[in-house]
Each structure stands twice: as structure tokens, then as C-alpha cells.
């Protein structure tokens, strides 16, 4: 069997099929009527900003950055939206609360691991605090705690709005969230105690994974049932991403955890099929769903191109699933598999450019709005980080680049650009928007939002630059056989310390955020202007 030509022809057939499929979803590809893009607005609402995270005066400033104001939004549709929000408020609140808790756990665990890399004799007496375990606790608290809880909480809150209906099975979702988090607590405890399944991203024992399966189903099924109750004709872009992600994740997790099936090198390819797809087919689509909703919503303008978003979605769905093998470049796995993954990694540039172009064209002329909207700042910055991390990832898959960066801190920096720079920042923005609607109350201390933004942005910039530099230097020293291995360690030391500084600032930012979240949840702090319901704004001059 001539594998390369087989692969090449199947690749060409598949890509042709993909574009035919995209075309078939569109009645007339050149039709410029973006009705589907306007489905997130009620009649008369386009041109009107919405930003619950800021107070009256700033709202008016924000509105002024926009070119025009449309008429009053349709009151009946706004009532329907209030009903949609009311139906999702409780489960969304529970999920976001859990998310913030795990964010703190993950930050502290991550900071501890970071410090241990340059202070290896610090806290070595305690087994659960040793690098190998606390680092794994950090990863799992992010991967199964903060990221999915925040993303699912926001998905659950957005979906009724997008479908103009009410959430079905809110209580089931709350029960599911509780089960999931019990599972996660047991899982994290197991890792601390040294009980692990041993594969990266899949350490939590399969027996505990059953709780994830149950809890996840109880969170996901209400969303599926809500989808069936939709009262809109067009499924908005965000709905595609959320709908697909909800079906993708269970398949990934169940296949990965099937006992006594995977072996040796096959297990390694499965491991990275899972490890990369949980990023690409779960956190990424859920975060993109949030960007596609909050960005146009805040500035009151529909996304620029519906067709671009369609291409972006289906290319992501098709290419992203097959990139995982690039984690094994140079490894003992079949050569065709590596080649396939490298090709698909490069192809990922297509959906990424489609998304980035769409975001930029939508924001064009409205960047001034960033000064007034906390949501927009986090979401737009997060969207830019998505572009950067994806392009970086595509090039990292190339053999020549991979030879230097593989096995180094560069990969860790890249992973954080995706999961922090993109996913986490977008989730911060989404939570700033959603929480005032969920608890019918404004954020008590707007200054804290600014503190949070600058701490995490500056902290992350330091983090990323330090760790990327460390990785490049480490890699260059490692591929130079004339230098002893220890050179590749010594050269990273100042940069690893720099990473801890960045990480500490990020953790401080998270503390500010979590404190603010807690005050809001408890109803403490000044009540600035009553409930943040959808009050009509005073017309601007």
C-alpha cells in the first residue's frame, strides 16, 4: 500500500467534500443578506451597545463611540430575553462559582510548580507538593475545573438567549455541576495521593471519570433539549460551536478512557488525539462561541461576514481533529500519521484567518469602544491571542521548528497562550457581561475590573515572553551536541524565575477577580445603580 499517495488523494477528496458541504449549507454562497448574523439582536436593537459590566456614564461613553443609534428595541423581544436570562440564571451562577473556585486552586498550584522549577529544594518533604504532582493538579484544575465550568456556564447562559427560548432542565444541570465537581475534587485528591492513570490530560482515574460522564451528560442534555425548543429560524454561529463541542467532548473522553484497549505507541497517538482535541474541539469552540456573541453584542453591530464564519467553523471541525500527532514528531509512531498531522496543522491557518478577519472587520472603526467596555477588552484581546496561538501552533508543527522547540518550555508557553491568553481571557470578559444579568446587580467595584485586567495582562506578557525565551534557548542548546546537557538547563534559570514573577501577577489578578465575584455573589459592596436589567439608555446627544 502506497500510504503517501493514498493519504494525499483522501486528503484532496476530503477537502473538496468539506467545501461542498459548506456550500450546501448556504442557500446561495454569495447572498449577502446576513439575517443569520442579526439573530442575536431584537428588532431595532442594532446600533445599541450592551455592556452590563459598566455603569451609566461609561455606558453612554461607549454608546458615543458608535456611529449611530437605532430606534428603541422591541419591548416584547426584550421581555423574552429577560425570561431567557431568568431561566438560566441559577445553573449559570453555580457553574461560574465552581469555575472561579478552581481558577484559584489552579493558580496556586501553577505558581507553586513554577517556583519549584527554579527552587528545586523548596517544600520537598511533602509528596503531594512535589513538582510531578502539583503540576498535574494545576493542569487538571484548569482542564476539568476552571475552563469547562466557565465555558459551560457561559454556554448555558447564552443558549436560551440565542434561541429566544427558556432553558430546559435547569435543576438537572445544577445537579450535574455538583456531580462533576465532586468527581473533580476526588480526582485532584487522587493525584495528590499518587493515584493516577498516568497519561497527560487523562490522569484522573477512569473510575472517577464516570462521575464526569454522568455530570457532563446532566449539564449537556438540558442544552440539547433547549436546542430543540428554539424559537428562531437561524442557528447563530455561537450555537454551531457550542452544539458541536457538546457532542465532541463526550466522544473524546469515553474513547480515551476505554479500559484495556489502548497499548504502547497506539496509546501515545490516542493520548495526543485526546490532548489536542480537548483544546481544539472543546475549549476552543466554546470560547469562540463566546467571542461571536459578546463582541457584536457589546458594540451593537452584527458580525461582518456570515460566510467567513461558516468557513471558519467547518474548517476547524475538519482540520483540528487530526493535528494531535504533531506532539509526537520524531517519535516512534508511523510516519504517515506525523505527516498527516503536520499537514492539518498548517491547514488550520484557514479557519483561523477566517475568524481573525471576521473579528477585525467587525471591530474596524470601533476600537475606541475598548476604552469603555471591560467585556470587550477581554474578549477582543482573547480573540487576538487565539489568532497568535493558532498561527504559532501551525508553525510549531513543522519539523524544522519542532526539532528545536519540541521537549522544551516553548511548548508550555504555547499551551498557555491558547488556554490562558485566549480561552481564559475570553471567559473573563464573558463573565463580566453575564454576571450582572445573572444576579441582577452591577459589579460593585469597577476599579477592580481594571486592576484585574492589567494584572493578568502584564503578568501574562511577562509569563509568555520569559517562558518562550527559555524554551528557545533550551532547545538551541539541546540540539547542539557539543554542549553538555546541563547547559540547556542552566540557560533557562533566569527565565524560569521570570515566569514565576508573571505567574504571581496573574495569581494576584485572579484574587482580585475572585474577591470581586464573591462580593457580588453575596450582595456586598455599594449598590451603584440598582439592578442591571435591560434599561433603555438615555439617547445620546
Amino acid at each position: 500500500m502506497d500510504i503517501p499517495s493514498l493519504l494525499l488523494s483522501s486528503f484532496i477528496i476530503a477537502v473538496t467534500g468539506l467545501f461542498f458541504f459548506i456550500w450546501s449549507l448556504r442557500k446561495g454562497l454569495l447572498d449577502s443578506d446576513p439575517a443569520a448574523a442579526k439573530v442575536i439582536f431584537s428588532r431595532g436593537e442594532i446600533g445599541r451597545v450592551e455592556e452590563p459590566a459598566v455603569a451609566g456614564a461609561t455606558q453612554r461613553d461607549l454608546q458615543r463611540t458608535m456611529a449611530f443609534v437605532a430606534g428603541e428595541p422591541d419591548a416584547k423581544e426584550l421581555q423574552a430575553r429577560i425570561a431567557a436570562d431568568a431561566s438560566s440564571a441559577r445553573p449559570a451562577f453555580v457553574l461560574l462559582g465552581f469555575a472561579v473556585f478552581w481558577l484559584l486552586v489552579a493558580s496556586l498550584a501553577g505558581l507553586t510548580s513554577s517556583i519549584k522549577l527554579h527552587e528545586p529544594d523548596w517544600l520537598t518533604q511533602y509528596a503531594w507538593l512535589s513538582f510531578g504532582r502539583i503540576r498535574t493538579i494545576h493542569l487538571n484544575a484548569v482542564a476539568y475545573g476552571w475552563a469547562p465550568m466557565a465555558a459551560l456556564g457561559i454556554a448555558l447562559w447564552m443558549l436560551p438567549r440565542l434561541l429566544k427560548t427558556t432553558l430546559e432542565g435547569a435543576r438537572v444541570a445544577i445537579g450535574g455541576a455538583v456531580l462533576w465537581n465532586i468527581g473533580l475534587a476526588i480526582g485532584i485528591g487522587s493525584i495528590a495521593a499518587g493515584i493516577t492513570d498516568g497519561m497527560e490530560w487523562l490522569e484522573i482515574p477512569g473510575q472517577v471519570g464516570v462521575l464526569f460522564a454522568l455530570g457532563g451528560a446532566m449539564i449537556g442534555l438540558p442544552l440539547v433539549f433547549t436546542l430543540r425548543r428554539r424559537k428562531v429560524e437561524h442557528l447563530y454561529v455561537s450555537v454551531w460551536y457550542m452544539g458541536a463541542a457538546l457532542f465532541w467532548f463526550p466522544v473524546l473522553y469515553i474513547v480515551a478512557k476505554l479500559p484495556n484497549l489502548h497499548f504502547g505507541v497506539e496509546q501515545a497517538t490516542m493520548n495526543w488525539w485526546f490532548g489536542h482535541n480537548v483544546l481544539g474541539l472543546f475549549y476552543t469552540p466554546l470560547s469562540l462561541a463566546a467571542v461571536y456573541y459578546f463582541l457584536p453584542k457589546v458594540i451593537g453591530r452584527p458580525i461582518q461576514s456570515y460566510n467567513l464564519s461558516l468557513i471558519g467553523f467547518w474548517c476547524l471541525a475538519f482540520f483540528y481533529g487530526q493535528v494531535g500527532g504533531h506532539h509526537l514528531v520524531g517519535g516512534p509512531v508511523p510516519e504517515w500519521l506525523i505527516t498527516l498531522s503536520i499537514v492539518q496543522s498548517i491547514m488550520m491557518i484557514v479557519p483561523v484567518v477566517a475568524f481573525s478577519l471576521n473579528q477585525h472587520l467587525t471591530m474596524r472603526g470601533h476600537f475606541a469602544a475598548l476604552r469603555h467596555s471591560a467585556t470587550l477588552r477581554f474578549v477582543v484581546l482573547g480573540g487576538m491571542m487565539y489568532t497568535l496561538s493558532s498561527i504559532q501552533g501551525s508553525f510549531e508543527a513543522l519539523r524544522s521548528v519542532n526539532t528545536v522547540t519540541h521537549f522544551t518550555h516553548f511548548t508550555v508557553a504555547h499551551a498557555h497562550l491558547g488556554l490562558y491568553g485566549f480561552v481564559t481571557l475570553v471567559m473573563f470578559g464573558a463573565i463580566y457581561f453575564a454576571m450582572p444579568r445573572i444576579v441582577s446587580r452591577e459589579w460593585p467595584y469597577p476599579t477592580l475590573i481594571g486592576v484585574h485586567f492589567w494584572l493578568v495582562t502584564i503578568g501574562f506578557a511577562i509569563y509568555f515572553v520569559s517562558l518562550t525565551t527559555a524554551g528557545v534557548l533550551q532547545g538551541l542548546n539541546m540540539v547542539d551536541a557539543s554542549k553538555p546537557f546541563m547547559d540547556s538547563v542552566r540557560v533557562t534559570l533566569p527565565w524560569l524565575a521570570g515566569r514565576s514573577v508573571g505567574g504571581a501577577l496573574m495569581t494576584l489578578g485572579h484574587l482580585a477577580f475572585a474577591g470581586h465575584f464573591l462580593l457580588m455573589a453575596l450582595g456586598r459592596g455599594p449598590r451603584r445603580s440598582g439592578a442591571a436589567l435591560l434599561r433603555p439608555l438615555a439617547p445620546t446627544a
Partner: protein, 201 residues
């Protein structure tokens, strides 16, 4: 897009293609791959040690997959020949790793065959490699006033030995070292991957 059934089916088809290429095809291709000639199954102690290796997360800093000399000079560092699928016949879960914060360990047993060195290095890596950033594992050892019969006493450079006592390796530390010493794949691969099965018959 108006049709949720089309959405979900399309999404599942793309995932099915990905799963077929990254999981099912490798499964079919590698299922009958025999162990590389010369590879021995792990003993009980080695398997227990492998479990300690997993529990302590050694894999997060140490790979077990030397690359081909045409790509990177892993062989010149003494990490060994490029590994092949058959070398992992007895490995479950796999421990290929993705980081080289520390060196590759695919052949650490051949490179550093002294059990005393390995034990001392686990107790305090900096006693042997200045500037190493590997964690010390004091909880895998006990410091006793004096050794009892049957104790595995760790020989340490005087500067790093505790005053007024001896360092004794726990069973876990000894198991881990027996696993590390078993990591020796210096036997040759007779033929490239695709032709390995006829060669082994």
C-alpha cells in the same frame, strides 16, 4: 445554517475522520507489532517501580523516545538509537513524554547502571549534578540513627549526608531504581519498522 441535525451529523463525521486516522488506523497497524528482539518483560519489582515513576510524575520532565540522528543529535548525548514501536510492547500506560527538562531516560539503565548513584541522586540530585533542577525526593527515604539489618543504606557524598544518621531507601525508592536500571534498550533493531516482523520470525 438552519438545521441542527445537519450541524451535529457534520460535526460527528469530522470527528470520526480524526478518530479513524489518529486512533483506529494506528491501532490496526500496530496491533500485531511484536516486541523488539531482546526486549524483556518487566519483573514485579520493576513494575512497582514503574508505578512510582508514574505516581511522582517523572514523565513530565523526562521523555523516553530518542529521535533519529537525522533530526536531532539524541544519539550523541548517549540517549540511544531511535526507538521503534516494538520497544514499547510491555509499556502500559505509555511514558513517551513531551518534555526534556531533564534528559531522555530511554536508556538510563545503560548510561548510569549504578544503583547507589541512582538512589543518592533521587535523595539529592544536586549532590551529583550541580545546578540540577530536579526535585529532591526525601520522602522516598528515611533518616535513621543507625542502619538495621536488611536496610538499604544510601551512600552519599559526605557534604550531603545528614549529620548523625544514615539515609535508608524505602521500598518505593528501591523499586523505582530497579525500574530505572531496566531502562536499557541498547540491543539493536535488526530492520526498520515495516520489516520488523519477518526479521523476528
Amino acid at each position: 445554517m438552519e438545521n441542527e441535525v445537519k450541524l451535529i451529523s457534520g460535526a460527528m463525521v469530522t470527528l470520526a475522520i480524526a478518530t479513524a486516522s489518529l486512533v483506529v488506523l494506528p491501532y490496526l497497524q500496530l496491533r500485531h507489532e511484536p516486541p523488539t528482539p531482546g526486549l524483556k518483560p518487566y519483573t514485579d519489582a520493576q513494575l512497582r517501580g514503574r508505578h512510582v515513576y508514574i505516581r511522582e510524575g517523572c514523565v513530565y520532565c523526562h521523555s523516553q523516545q530518542p529521535r533519529d540522528p537525522s533530526q536531532a543529535p539524541d544519539d550523541k548525548r548517549g540517549w540511544g538509537r531511535p526507538s521503534v514501536a516494538g520497544d514499547y510492547y510491555y509499556d502500559s500506560p505509555h511514558l513517551l513524554g513531551t518534555m526534556r527538562t531533564g534528559p531522555d531516560l530511554f536508556n538510563i539503565g545503560a548510561r548510569q547502571p549504578s544503583a547507589d548513584w541512582q538512589l543518592g541522586h533521587l535523595y539529592q540530585p544536586r549532590a551529583y549534578t550541580p545546578d540540577s533542577i530536579m526535585p529532591a525526593y526525601p520522602y522516598l527515604f528515611e533518616v535513621r540513627k543507625q542502619a538495621e539489618p536488611g536496610d538499604k543504606v544510601v551512600a552519599l557524598p559526605p557534604r550531603f549526608a545528614p549529620t548523625g544518621g544514615v539515609v535508608v531507601a524505602t521500598q518505593a525508592a528501591q523499586d523505582l531504581v530497579s525500574y530505572l536500571l531496566a531502562l536499557d534498550r541498547t540491543f539493536p533493531v535488526l530492520a526498520p519498522l515495516a520489516d520488523a516482523s519477518p526479521a523476528s520470525n
